[in-house]
């Protein structure tokens, strides 16, 4: 098996404090690895080391990945650009024609519903919008490896769903940290427990049903959806959907310009 990235007995000390000790993990082409651990256990530090932002105090990280996409837990607060300017500028670091860059940006802007914020200063954007920009800048790099630090933080339900779908469809190996069950269950194939250094394979659990509350314009927009139960109250519908079918239902609804009011997991 060829490794995109391999960390061998990596330790990290910051200001005399040992943050990580003897961490070993590897990442191949089909890795979807969740790094799990308590607060302050060094998950973000490990991701930063894997991304090459910081170097380990001891041990070695070997990368064959040419391009790494990194989504930080906290997107920079003080960027002096508008949303579109920023994405255009950082995409230009990778080269490529302006037209192809603009096409790519438009695709993600539409996907995450950011059209209204294109000319808004990033300083003035909400936390969720900044988080989406953080995700888009990483995707625009067309990375060989994607590193995501709590990527769902601040995202609305609709965008969370979009991101989960994107990550599931992506052929790119992914290493991420998250406390969100939806991301863990839907994306992770393996789980790396940072305190013990053990990797466990994620079993495919039965995906629980979801309750989707949606506002629609025309009744025929919400017809023939693969739902197990449906209730209507004026222009608002509540669907109960099998967990595996929820992505498809949400996609259909969004395509028909319906507004997703709520997505809730039924336990």
């Amino acid at each position: 098996m060829t490794f995109i990235l391999e960390a061998v007995q990596v330790s990290k000390e910051i200001a005399g404090r040992l943050i990580l000790q003897d961490i070993s993990l590897s990442c191949s082409n089909n890795t979807k690895l969740l790094i799990r651990g308590k607060n302050g256990s060094g998950k973000s530090t490990l991701l930063k080391m894997l991304a090459g932002i910081t170097e380990p105090t001891s041990g070695q990280i070997v990368r064959s990945a040419q391009k790494i996409g990194y989504v930080p837990e906290h997107f920079p607060e003080s960027l002096r650009f508008t949303l579109k300017e920023y994405l255009l500028l950082v995409s230009s670091f990778q080269g490529g024609s302006k037209a192809s860059i603009e096409n790519e940006i438009s695709k993600y802007i539409e996907l995450f519903g950011l059209e209204a914020f294109l000319d808004t200063s990033l300083k003035a954007c909400s936390k969720g919008t900044k988080q989406k920009v953080g995700i888009i800048q990483a995707l625009l790099m067309k990375p060989d490896l994607l590193l995501l630090d709590e990527p769902l933080t601040g995202l609305d339900a609709e965008s969370q769903q979009v991101l989960i779908e994107l990550l599931n469809e992506a052929q790119t190996p992914i290493i991420f940290t998250s406390h969100e069950e939806a991301l863990i269950r839907n994306v992770a194939k393996e789980i790396f427990q940072i305190e013990t250094g053990e990797i466990t394979v994620q079993s495919m659990k039965a995906v629980p049903k979801k309750r989707i509350r949606v506002a629609f314009h025309r009744r025929e927009d919400v017809k023939d959806l693969p739902v197990s139960q449906q209730e209507f109250d004026g222009n608002v519908a509540v669907f109960t959907v099998e967990g595996n079918a929820s992505d498809e239902v949400l996609r259909n609804l969004l395509q028909k310009n319906c507004s997703i009011l709520e997505v809730r997991e039924l336990t």
Partner: protein
């Protein structure tokens, strides 16, 4: 690739507005300085060189402190290498220096401030001098921006001390010759200024030797700063 980053840096630097104080001070000083007419050419250029040295230290420190921690982290991943980040910063500093040097050299010519007509030799030495002093300023600014010491007070004080010692270098050596070797560590301000003479301006062997030393010094410093930068951000 780095071109994109240079555009990013220039936009960020302009929008940060931190360029206004050094630029205003420098341009204001040039205008004030040349309110006197009939001034000697090379001595006047020597003074504007020293001003550029100070201002470029200031500019370099501002350019190196443009980003917060998380923006820097992102840039390290987005750029092909950390070296591109450092070089991008230096290019922005050099561009700023070129503009300021242009103003310093051309303004007195335009308003006809000098007592003689400036020849090609005067202009060539002036260009070389201003660029050298700009590089010294960038070296001092980027050196102290890449130390592991976090205190801004320390970095400003240290850089001002280095500038003062390097300008006063000749005088220090006259008083204490033993310090001659220690002063090799400081930017070769004295060697460069020696050639800014109004009496017998010529480009001879000594000029080329001093130029070689300035180039060698700048290369060594850029190597040392690169290593410091890698150590700081590893």
């Amino acid at each position: 690739m780095v071109r994109g980053f240079i555009r990013y840096q220039i936009s960020s630097y302009i929008r940060s507005l931190t360029f206004i104080p050094p630029l205003t001070l420098f341009v204001g000083w040039i205008i004030l300085f040349y309110t006197y007419r009939g001034v000697p050419i090379m001595s006047s250029y020597a003074i504007t060189c020293i001003s550029l040295y100070l201002v470029m230290t200031w500019v370099a420190m501002s350019v190196f402190s443009l980003e917060g921690e998380s923006e820097k982290d992102l840039l390290f991943v987005q750029l092909p290498s950390k070296r591109d980040y450092l070089w991008g910063k230096w290019v922005v500093c050099l561009l700023s220096a070129s503009i300021l040097a242009f103003v310093a050299i051309v303004y007195p010519l335009v308003i006809n401030s000098f007592k003689e007509t400036a020849g090609l030799l005067h202009i060539s030495v002036a260009v070389f001098g201003h660029l050298s002093f700009a590089v010294f300023g960038i070296i001092v600014g980027s050196f102290f921006s890449n130390t592991k010491v976090e205190s801004k007070k320390f970095t400003w004080l240290s850089s001002m001390l280095v500038i003062a010692i390097s300008i006063a270098g000749e005088g220090i050596v006259e008083k204490a010759a033993i310090l001659k070797w220690v002063l090799l560590l400081f930017p070769p301000v004295g060697q460069t200024l020696l050639h800014f003479t109004d009496e017998a301006l010529y480009i001879g062997r000594n000029f080329w030797l001093d130029t070689a030393w300035v180039v060698f010094y700048s290369f060594i410093c850029s190597f040392v700063i690169t290593q410091m930068f890698y150590r700081k951000w590893r």
